[in-house]
Amino acid sequence: MAWYRRWRNVFRDDALSTELDAELAYHLAETVDRLIEAGMPEPEALIAARRQLGNYTIQKERARDMNIATWLDQLRADVMYGLRQLKQSPGFTAVAVLSLALGIGANAAIFQLVNAIRLKLLPVKNPEQLVVVDWNKDSARAGAWSTRSANFTYTQWDVLRAHQEAFSDMIAWSASHFDLTRGGEPRFAEGLYVSGSFFPVLGVSAELGRTLSASDDSASCNAAAVISDAFWHREFGGDRQVLGRRLTLNGYPVPAGACCTTDCYELAVALPGGLGLLLSIVQARGRVRNRSSQSLMMLAHGSVRWM
């Protein structure tokens, strides 16, 4: 295992050095003995023996190189040199380390975000079969113009869902935020109004209780909110008796109907608006009023050949 010894010698430099010194010292001692036997006085013999050996340091260095993984040794020396330099100017070191740390940290954070939004598939059932439904570019259209491009109105969604034949199902949602307080200073939670098909189509299941389904898309049903795992832990401390507890949303009492599995957190990052609460669109109309519930985004589930 010659390479192993060469590697080990990088980190036991002193021992190696001592060994080489001992070997060369023996050589010198024997030469001195011979010269003295030949009749040379000792001081001169010492000098002559040295001269005969040649350049001591070079011999030692060359013998050392034979016993060491040179590139690794140089790397070690470079690292040590670098550390010494850093130690000499602690101010510079602090600034450099700090800016590197901030840079790396920022990049890691940005990557996490980009990864969740852009790179990873949605953490739902068959994400490759989901398509976004939107208006044709530059088409003359009606719609809800809360941003530069139009979203759908509730009426449009109703018609589309009823008459489309291209997809197995469609879902719609609207991002909103809800005031959680009963008066006083408002405290908002991000949430979505969703169609009843939202959970079945995306395949997101509930940890407790049941999620909304198509049968909840009826104004005669009692309103109930599905809360995300994060919201559950933040607002209720992960209490398993949470079902039926009252939430006050924009002043209206709404019971918590279900808690999402942890999946919902990633969904929250992936879908716009963040996600704390999910309410049925239909139930919300006229109850938990919010103007933005009129502006819908849509996804359809089905074959990609329609794109």
């Binding site: 050996l53 011999q59 060359r62």
Partner: protein
């Protein structure tokens, strides 16, 4: 720096060391020098300093192995001995040396 009078030996250093260790058994560096000097009737003088790196290189190549022992003068010395791999190497170097000298002689004798 004046050229070493022994630099012709450079290529044959391995051969000489292996051969000596093969016939004489374990030897320390100084002993090797002495042996080669006396056997060659002082025609060959190893450059003592270059012997040490060469020995270490050969040890890394596993042609020779080493052991620290006490000499009869009571000094600590590193004794080198030839290994099986070294013997194979010796045979090869012997062969190539013979070929070289044969070739050189033929050229010199051509007239």
């Amino acid at each position: 720096m004046p050229k070493s009078p022994n630099d012709k030996l450079q290529g044959t250093l391995t051969l000489l060391v292996l051969k000596t260790l093969n016939t004489r058994g374990p030897l320390h560096g100084y002993g090797l020098c002495e042996h080669i000097r006396s056997v060659s009737a002082e025609l060959l003088q190893l450059e003592e300093g270059s012997l040490c790196p060469a020995l270490h290189r050969m040890e890394q190549d596993q042609w020779i192995s080493s052991k620290w022992e006490i000499t009869n003068k009571g000094r600590q010395a590193k004794f080198y001995s030839i290994t099986t791999k070294g013997k194979k190497q010796l045979a090869e170097e012997n062969e190539s040396w013979a070929r070289l000298t044969r070739g050189v002689m033929r050229v010199l004798n051509y007239s």
